[in-house]
Symmetry: none
Subunit: 220 residues, 2 copies
């Protein structure tokens, strides 16, 4: 069905437009993802709210889904659009790296209010920086400066209860198991509101700056 007409092509040529990108084979890719997960059309239907028949037709390129349908797909399946559009992948078998950090064996960076423990620091060239932070119990009035660094950050409370401040939003009260994903160039700060220290696990994207700002205040 999705066949670009000669008229369109003529228009494009006449207007000096650049050659068009190859039509994205949405159907094949969707089917690939579905099969890789051992999902049935029915289960995908339940997850996405789209009818089984609709999914079948999309997979077989019999219809072109509306954008809302695409949204339902990416939301329901928990995938990304780039992922949905990327062509089938061939696996490259390289010798992988791995870096074990036993509990408590990370690199310690104590500061007055935080206690950072850098994890997996044997490995250079990582795309993520994981670290544990112990937030000492304190009066939250002490908080006076935003932490801010390039990239994105994921954070989950392992123990205790914290108040998480971020720019532009109200503070959040996070308890054990609660997690937050945010743009870390947005100012943020943690305060423990339990009587004891709280422990938080964070993972930042991207190298230096993340490490620098997150652990930085360590060295005085």
């Amino acid at each position: 069905m999705p066949a670009t007409t000669d008229q369109e092509a003529a228009l494009r040529i006449a207007s000096g437009r650049k050659p068009f990108v190859e039509p994205l084979r949405l159907g094949e890719r969707l089917k690939e993802i579905r099969l890789a997960n051992r999902w049935t059309l029915d289960s995908v239907s339940q997850r996405t709210g789209l009818a089984r028949s609709t999914l079948s037709k999309i997979e077989n390129n019999q219809i072109s889904p509306t954008f809302t349908a695409v949204q339902k797909l990416i939301n329901g399946l928990g995938i990304d659009l780039p992922q949905l559009l990327s062509p089938p992948k061939t696996q490259a078998h390289t010798l992988g790296r791995r870096d074990l950090t036993r509990s408590g064996d990370g690199q310690q960076h104590p500061t007055p209010t935080y206690e950072h423990e850098l994890l997996s620091c044997q490995l250079a060239q990582k795309r993520m920086i994981p670290f544990k932070t112990i937030v000492r119990a304190r009066d939250f009035r002490e908080f006076n400066e935003w932490v801010r660094h390039d990239g994105e950050e994921f954070l989950i409370v392992l123990d205790g209860c914290v108040l998480l401040f971020t720019e532009f939003y109200e503070p959040l009260r996070l308890e054990q198991g609660d997690s937050l994903y945010f743009d870390s160039d947005m100012g943020h700060a943690l305060v423990s509101i339990s009587e004891q220290d709280a422990t938080v696990l964070s993972v930042c994207t991207s190298s230096e700056i993340a490490l620098e700002s997150a652990a930085a205040r360590s060295c005085s």
Copy 2:
């Protein structure tokens, strides 16, 4: 039609509530691009082959374009999809995103042997994919296939005790608090060796098939 305001969106994000979709504001973004280039609806119509009226309705969120229409836009205007989907840049750069997931409120993806809970899945375009996995107690002889996906993975045991197999190395016994960073295109697999289920938090670098492969091996 469905015209959610920025304010509403901010409120929804701030409140952290929400079992459903973050609507991508395609219309605003398209209009923004068009105006930035001093294009008229007519010229865009010629470039893309879409009717002037159709473009108007898309810009005003009166219809949800089909995927073929989106492709015509991308091709005709010489832009790429991420560009089209990036939020209207009015405040987007100053206002950071954040996505709260309360404990247990992630997107559940149960399988026979694992129980995946996708965290922070309201946020598209992330560079990391965080998820919790409950590894059901079982005989590890059942493990017979590697999980393998592009990118890097960080993993920490929240509860219980697991045996982690990776290609090229010996298996590792990981207990609560132990963590591992590894190249995830290297085959890996988890087996619980505690009497109870074990809980593991993983963070994958984005893009590829993080969920797909992570959830894949479910059925043997």
